[in-house]
Subunit: 246 residues, 2 copies
DNA sequence: CTAAAGGATGTGGTCCAACCACATCAAGTA
DNA sequence: TACTTGATGTGGTTGGACCACATCCTTTAG
C-alpha cells in the first residue's frame, strides 16, 4: 500500500512495513476509530522490528491525523485512533507554502471555489447550517476582534460542512489552517476594523438568507465576493476566481 | 510553528523542535528546493538532540512530500528538499478512506468539482493542455489496458494543471491517488472494456475540443458526465455533483 | 472501617552506541 | 591507461537503557 507510490522493487523500509500492517488493520476494521494500537514495545515484538521503526511509523500516522499518542495510563494514554484529516492536509499545505511552491493566491482561489460550491448545495435542514446561524448571533454581540475572527472561522467551516461532503469540509479547514498566520497579518492592514466587521456581519446574513431561500447560485456569488472582497481590502491581490464562469 | 496548532503550554516534543528548525530554514529561504539538509548526525549535534529525534522529524517531512532521503554518496544521497504536495495529501486521504471516515463517493464528488472548475478556466495556450492533446493521441494507439489507464490518469492531471492553480492540481492528484486501488477494482467490473475505452476516447476528444473552443461551461459539463458516467458504469453509486447548479 | 500514603505497573519520550547496506571517490596497482 | 580496492560518508536498523507520567493497588495510619 505505502511503497506503491515510489518504490516497487526495492526492499521496503522497516517503518513502512509497520505502516502497512497498521493500514491493513484499519482497512479490515480490526482497528477502528477510538481503538488503541498495541503498545510500541508489544508491536515491535509482534512484527519483529525495533521499537524505533514502530515509533517512526506512529510519528507519520500522527502527522496524518490518524492517531494520537498519549503517555501515562488510563483512557488518555497509549496510541489511539482518531480521525483528523484536516490536520494532515493543513500541515502539508502550510509546509509547501513555506517553500513558496504553493502561492497564497492559489489557496485563496481554491477556498473560494470550494466554499462557493458548498453553499450552493448546502442543505437548509443541515445541523451545520443551524450552527452557522447561531454563530452569526454570537458575532453580533462580540466586541473583541480576536474572538470575532475565531467565530468567523467557525462560521465559514459550518457553511462548508452544510454541503455534506467530508472531503470538501476537510480541505476547507486545511486551507484555512495553511494561511492562518498569513490572514492574521493581513487583518492588521485593515484601515477601519469596525466598519469592516459591520460589513462582514451584513454579508454573512445575506449569504445565510440566500441559502435558506434555496437560492444556491446567489449564495455562491455572495460567498465569492465576500472572501475576495476581504482579501482585496486587506491588500492581497487574488486571482480572479469567479465561479460563475461555470 | 508546529506546536502552535495543538499544544501551547506543554513541553514540545523533541522531534517537533527539529521540525520547527527545518521549517524556519525553509521559510527564510536558507533551505530551498533541491537543497540538502545537514547529515542526520550533524543536525543532531547542532540542535543538541539525539539522532533518533532528527530522524522522526525527517520521517514526517518525508511523508509530507517536503524532503526525500537517499543513502550512499553523490547527488542522490542525503536528505534533499523536494516539493511533492500531492504525495502528502494523497497518503492522508487514503489513510482516512481506510478508516471509513472519508467516503469514496465524497472523493469522487470532489474530484468532479475540482476538475470541472479546472477545465472551465483552462487556458488554451497552456503547455499542460498541449500535453493533454499529445496524451490523447497516444491513447488512440494504445491497445494495452493498463497503459491506457496510466495515460488516462496523466490526461486528467494535465487538464487540471491547465487551470494554472497549483493547489487545485495537487488536490486533484491526491484524490486520484487516494482512490487508485479502488478505481482499479471498479475497472474490473466493466462488462466490455473495448467499448468503454472507445467511449472514453471520444469523450476526451469532446472535452478538449470544448476547451479549445473557449466553451468552458460545456467542457465542465462534459467532464462531470465523463467522470460520473465511468464510476456509474463500474458500479459505484456516486453523489449528485452536477456543478452546473452554480 | 475509612482514608491517606506509597509503591507497582505500564505507557510513550528520549538518548546512546553500535552495526549494516549502499554509493561515490581516490589511491594504488596491473 | 584501465581496473581493483579500500576509505569515506550517507541513511537504515537495532537493542538497551533511562526518564516522566498517570493509573491502579497495596499498605499503613487514623
Amino acid at each position: 500500500m505505502w511503497s506503491n507510490h515510489i518504490k516497487y522493487h526495492w526492499p521496503m523500509r522497516t517503518h513502512q512495513l509497520v505502516l502497512q500492517w497498521i493500514e491493513n488493520q484499519l482497512s479490515s476494521g480490526e482497528l477502528a476509530l477510538g481503538g488503541r494500537l498495541p503498545a510500541e514495545r508489544t508491536l515491535a515484538e509482534q512484527l519483529q522490528v525495533s521499537r524505533t521503526s514502530v515509533r517512526e511509523a506512529i510519528r507519520i500516522l500522527e502527522a496524518m491525523g490518524v492517531v494520537r499518542a498519549g503517555v501515562g495510563s488510563g483512557p488518555d494514554a497509549g496510541t489511539v485512533v482518531i480521525a483528523d484529516p484536516t490536520a494532515a492536509l493543513g500541515s502539508a499545505l502550510r509546509l509547501h507554502v513555506a517553500t513558496s511552491h504553493l502561492p497564497v493566491a492559489d489557496i485563496v482561489q481554491t477556498r473560494v471555489l470550494l466554499e462557493s460550491w458548498a453553499v450552493a448545495r448546502a442543505r437548509t435542514d443541515s445541523p451545520a447550517l443551524a450552527e452557522a446561524a447561531s454563530l452569526l448571533e454570537k458575532m453580533d454581540a462580540c466586541p473583541d476582534t480576536d474572538e470575532f475572527l475565531a467565530l468567523d472561522v467557525r462560521f465559514h467551516l459550518a457553511l462548508a460542512e452544510a454541503a455534506g461532503n467530508a472531503v470538501v469540509s476537510a480541505m476547507m479547514g486545511s486551507l484555512r489552517e495553511a494561511i492562518q498566520s498569513y490572514a492574521g497579518k493581513l487583518t492588521a492592514n485593515l484601515p477601519d476594523w469596525d466598519a469592516t466587521a459591520a460589513r462582514l456581519r451584513s454579508e454573512h446574513r445575506n449569504i445565510l438568507a440566500a441559502i435558506n431561500n434555496h437560492d444556491g447560485g446567489r449564495a455562491a456569488g455572495l460567498v465569492a465576493a465576500h472572501i475576495e472582497g476581504y482579501y482585496k481590502e486587506a491588500g492581497l491581490g487574488p486571482k480572479d476566481s469567479d465561479p460563475a464562469r461555470l
